[in-house]
Subunit: 196 residues, 4 copies
């Protein structure tokens, strides 16, 4: 697959966009800095003016999606609705936002291990917080007696996010299902599997 030269936005924006597309398409390790700057229509020097390293680009892309999803989860988890509804909404939302930012999500799903040592720890902590927030919703449902308790909440959350991460492996925009439809199915499957 080839992409058209990017012409809009500031240089760092174009670089991030170019990197996102290419990392999503071929994986971090298979993308040369030269390809990124070519797609962004600048020179390598310009890239290193704005980003300290190729790793930094990944970190930026990775972190920005993680921040967005953390923030949205917070909103969805903290409403007044019954816990099952809140969990359903949160599950649906994470699928929809992943599909709507699909390149970014693909980078996110596949490249945690490619982060530089220093960034890896910080990102891992952030991801764990996200995981735990989601898990606490499940536990809340268990405590309320609406979710089964024979399967550990932790495991259920891993199970669900596995499904979400796997979107990157099979979803294509050309498919018949919309982001929302997929999200609803995913959320339905999660809720069904949890029903007490």
């Amino acid at each position: 697959m080839t992409f058209k030269l990017l012409r809009m936005g500031t240089v760092p924006e174009r670089l991030i966009e170019a990197a996102t597309r290419l990392f999503a398409d071929k994986g971090f390790d298979r993308v040369a800095v030269q390809e990124i700057v070519d797609l962004a229509g600048v020179t390598k020097g310009a890239m290193y003016h704005y980003f300290g390293s190729k790793d930094d680009l990944l970190h930026e892309i990775y972190g920005s999606l993680l921040r967005m999803q953390t923030e949205r989860l917070d909103r969805f988890a903290s409403g007044p609705a019954p816990v099952a509804d809140r969990l359903h909404a949160a599950a649906l939302d994470v699928v929809v936002t992943s599909v709507e930012n699909f390149d970014q999500a693909k980078v996110y799903f596949r490249s945690a291990d490619q982060l530089a040592e220093s960034q890896r720890l910080a990102m891992r902590a952030e991801r764990r917080r996200y995981h735990e927030r989601f898990r606490s919703l499940v536990e809340e449902g268990q405590a309320a007696g609406v979710f089964r308790t024979d399967v550990p909440a932790d495991l259920t959350v891993h199970y669900f996010f596995g499904a979400v991460h796997h979107l990157g492996a099979w979803y294509h925009a050309s498919g018949t299902l919309s982001a929302k439809q997929i999200g609803r199915h995913y959320a339905d499957l999660l809720l069904s599997s949890l029903r007490a």
Copy 2:
């Protein structure tokens, strides 16, 4: 993480084992051929005597797990038991074998995109057959009226295998759950989510 020099088995076996460990640990692109042969206790010449390329090693590891799981799925799917039981057994089995061959599974889960062009197509076809066999079990249950039909079987299968692939991201041998326990939980969640 560092590994001990491998001393047992034939040269090609040692090479496969070394490559499996290293690919699982760092990802295909981050492993140098030199590291593999060092761990296997041989030289590069020896490796190129037995394998045509680094890609071949990946192909071998990838293909052998895929073959094994395809074969086992065939056995589990074709029994005389009720379809729900057969699906449960198949789901449990794929989790158990993935955990029991964890390094190989990690390589498998993460490296589909790293396969060389020529091998990629063949492997993709094989994987699709596997996916379709599993899906046909779900469809059989839908036809029999024991599984819900409002969620497409295809999507359910992606959902479940997403969960399985994600094992590589969180499972550690040191955890409290055994392979079988995890497999049972996973299979239970799958069956619950499918119940009509």
Copy 3:
């Protein structure tokens, strides 16, 4: 070692001071223009406003010490005192001024070869004049019969300035000897070695 942002003096003065410290610390080739302007608290544009190039900075530092020492040598060499006394005073003085302007001296001692082609010739000629003036003092003593003649004056001068240049390799302000004490010892050693 890190240095504090320079805040005093005019912009070109701060640039010279920053460059002097950094060149002394790491050597000309290991210092980036960016570091110099960071330490001086200005931007690159400012530097290129005042200096034509990084080489120019070195040239400035190099030349200013050389000019100072040439001038002082002239004063010390041309007095009415006996030649041995004048040589002793000159030798002492070059050590003292080198220690008192230690960063500048370190740059001077180490960086003759880093000067740009065009500047190198001019500086070499200037240095040779300095060397010859010093040598002529030695020759004057030889002619007067107070210095030995079996060792060529030229060689003695190289010998002594080798010792002086080497100060940059071992002297630290934290040592027990003062600039003057070191200078006296050096001058004593020179005079002793020359005694007829």
Copy 4:
């Protein structure tokens, strides 16, 4: 200055020789790996097959001269002759061997600061041992009453080795003095300056 393609010796030998000439001529930081391998008549890959880095080449050159001179100093210092004779012989020898291995010596004299962090400490320790061995000769002479005691032995040794290091700045093979003549003059100047 340009050099002729090296054709003799093993590849690592040619690389060391090429690096020695070029480092001596232009200084470590001004020599590109490409120049070294061109002069040695091999490719960059070959160089990195034998040496881990450009730093390693410097370390090798630096260390081999240091080892040689340490060993020779040991021999000269430990004889039965009077201490003044032993010091004279040692001083003469270090000059002669420096001149006879002039390229290596020039690299050694100028490049201590360019050594990589890890190697710098080891080399510094080794150099200090050398310095101390030389100093102990001076102290022995002071204790024996044949050398002056008003100038610290330490300082005298720095003084002398400054002169030796400076050879790299002025000596040329085309000069009128032979290595031995220079050595004798240097040793004479040292001994004269030390006479009680």
